[in-house]
């Protein structure tokens, strides 16, 4: 089945939106319903309602670099009219107008929200501003796509999620891996047990740069480099961890019960207030662990998530999986290498058992049969548009985003307090995928 799937993926043009939908539908068909359990939000693409003739009036609040990145996908989508943008930084406005020249420009987002024509908003502003904007947008009846992390603290996240429930508007968060075909496929395999029992998840996001943006005047430092200051960001945990922690819980199908971690400023001592390196441990009730770390003074290992199973390992960023058992070297080569060892090495440990384990490199297999060439951002924005047009919230999408944010903020709190913290059950929501509906019932 996998082989035929790989053949099929090779011949399709994955850049085409219609093909992407087709692709996801076929994933569902191939999965025989298991896909619905591992990635229930994909049901949005199976919606029977024909939305081909409809256009969503969208406003973008915060068309900075991330906002514009998403706008490029939305601007190509025939079902979207980006009718307005709101920002207080003129260079961002100017660059956004190059993508959507006819969009109305607002300096105050509240005026954008007051526009009755606008049905949905994309919020890509600094972290500390998400809460108020999203709450106001939902009160105004707008469907909301909010970049991660959704709130500055756990309480804000909970209130935003509750507001989404009480208003009934569509709520998406910027967790693009949820719509990335290689993650979807590999999670289906993980949950099918293809890689055996998943024993650990390791993830890291390393860079070697100061994470600074150019500042035209000193007074704009905190405004432009908001990621580096405590008042507006929680640094690596809220900007990077959010994506990868969600991958871990997606793979393990549950939430951790304990977290501990440490962060410090070791290298970039340039006045920043947030850590330049972080290590965290998330511990599950069965003893399994999820490690997440980030270092921005060394990029050798780059960015990756590793899902470690008893039978195989997945590295979804590379788009590959590797099985533990691989065919050994041909006997003839094993014999020649052993002779080489006997002749040229005086070490005592060389032997057939050692050679058999290390002789053949494990190059793994591509999850989608080829090297990954895109993430899920395009599909994520497309899904949001479909949901906003139909007014139907896909299962699990808000909940995954909510818990991803909670995990980051909870981890950050553990780092700041220097303690191992238990999961704050007051922030549990009804979400059966992680079994937290039971937590919620227990609390009640």
């Amino acid at each position: 089945m996998l082989y035929s799937y790989a053949l099929w993926i090779c011949v399709m043009d994955i850049d085409d939106i219609q093909n992407r939908r087709f692709f996801l539908r076929n994933l569902g068909v191939l999965g025989g319903g298991i896909l619905a359990a591992t990635s229930p939000w994909l049901s949005i693409f199976a919606d029977v309602k024909d939305t081909s003739g409809e256009r969503l009036k969208l406003g973008v609040i915060g068309p900075g670099s991330r906002g514009r990145f998403l706008m490029k996908f939305l601007a190509k989508n025939k079902k979207v009219d980006i009718v307005a943008i709101a920002d207080i930084y003129q260079p961002s406005i100017d660059e956004a107008l190059e993508i959507v020249p006819t969009a109305k420009v607002y300096k105050d987002y509240r005026r954008l929200l007051a526009d009755k024509n606008i049905q949905a908003v994309l919020v890509a502003t600094p972290l500390n501003t998400h809460f108020q904007i999203v709450m106001d947008a939902m009160d105004a009846g707008k469907h909301v796509y909010c970049e991660k992390t959704i709130g500055y603290d756990m309480d804000q996240c909970k209130r935003m999620y509750d507001k989404h429930l009480s208003t009934g508007v569509v709520f998406f968060t910027g967790q693009q891996r949820l719509f990335d075909p290689r993650y979807i496929k590999v999670m289906q395999m993980v949950h099918d047990g293809v890689f055996g029992e998943i024993t650990k998840v390791r993830a890291w996001w390393n860079r070697n740069n100061d994470w600074r943006r150019e500042v035209p005047e000193p007074r704009l430092e905190k405004f432009i480099n908001w990621r580096l200051y405590k008042a507006s960001s929680k640094g690596l945990m809220t900007e990077l961890a959010c994506h990868q922690l969600q991958v871990g819980t997606w793979a393990l199908g549950k939430l951790p019960e304990k977290v501990m971690g440490h962060g410090s400023i070791n290298y970039w001592k340039d006045g920043r207030e947030v850590y330049d390196n972080i290590s965290t441990f998330y511990i599950f009730n069965d003893g399994r662990k999820m490690e997440w770390g980030s270092d921005i003074a060394n990029k050798f290992y780059g960015l990756e998530e590793q899902i470690l199973g008893s039978v195989g390992t997945v590295e979804p960023e590379r788009g590959k999986y590797f099985f533990e058992e691989i065919a050994p070297q041909p006997a003839f080569l094993q014999m020649i290498r052993e002779w080489q060892q006997d002749i040229f090495s005086d070490s005592m440990f060389a032997g057939t058992s050692w050679m058999a384990e290390t002789a053949k490199p494990n190059h793994g297999e591509y999850i989608l049969g080829k090297k990954p060439d895109a993430d899920g951002s395009s599909l994520l924005t497309e899904a949001f548009v479909e949901a906003a047009i139909t007014g139907r919230q896909p299962a699990g999408i808000a909940e995954e985003g909510y818990y991803a944010s909670i995990l980051c903020l909870w981890g950050h709190e553990a780092i700041c307090r220097g303690e191992a913290l238990d999961f704050p059950k007051e922030y549990c929501i009804d979400y059966d995928v992680y079994g937290t509906s039971e937590y919620k019932t227990d609390l009640a």
């Binding site: 050994p328 041909p330 006997a331 003839f332 080569l333 094993q334 014999m335 057939t352």
Partner: protein, 78 residues
Amino acid sequence: MKDILITRKRQITELKVWLACLALSVVLNIYAIIAYEAQWTELFTSIGFMLTASVVIYIILLFFRIVWYGVRRLCKRR
């Protein structure tokens, strides 16, 4: 420059030597398959390794043969 003539007899001799090297490689492969408990299909799938090994053995043998002929020729001259 002088033409080098390889006689028919010499060609047959070299072919026989190389075939002996190939046979040795096959025997070594059979030994390896038994010793490492590998599959017998490796008799065919490792044919490339055996061919390579036969050439390597032939070259090593050639070196010793040249040395041998050289020494013998030297002794005869004396």
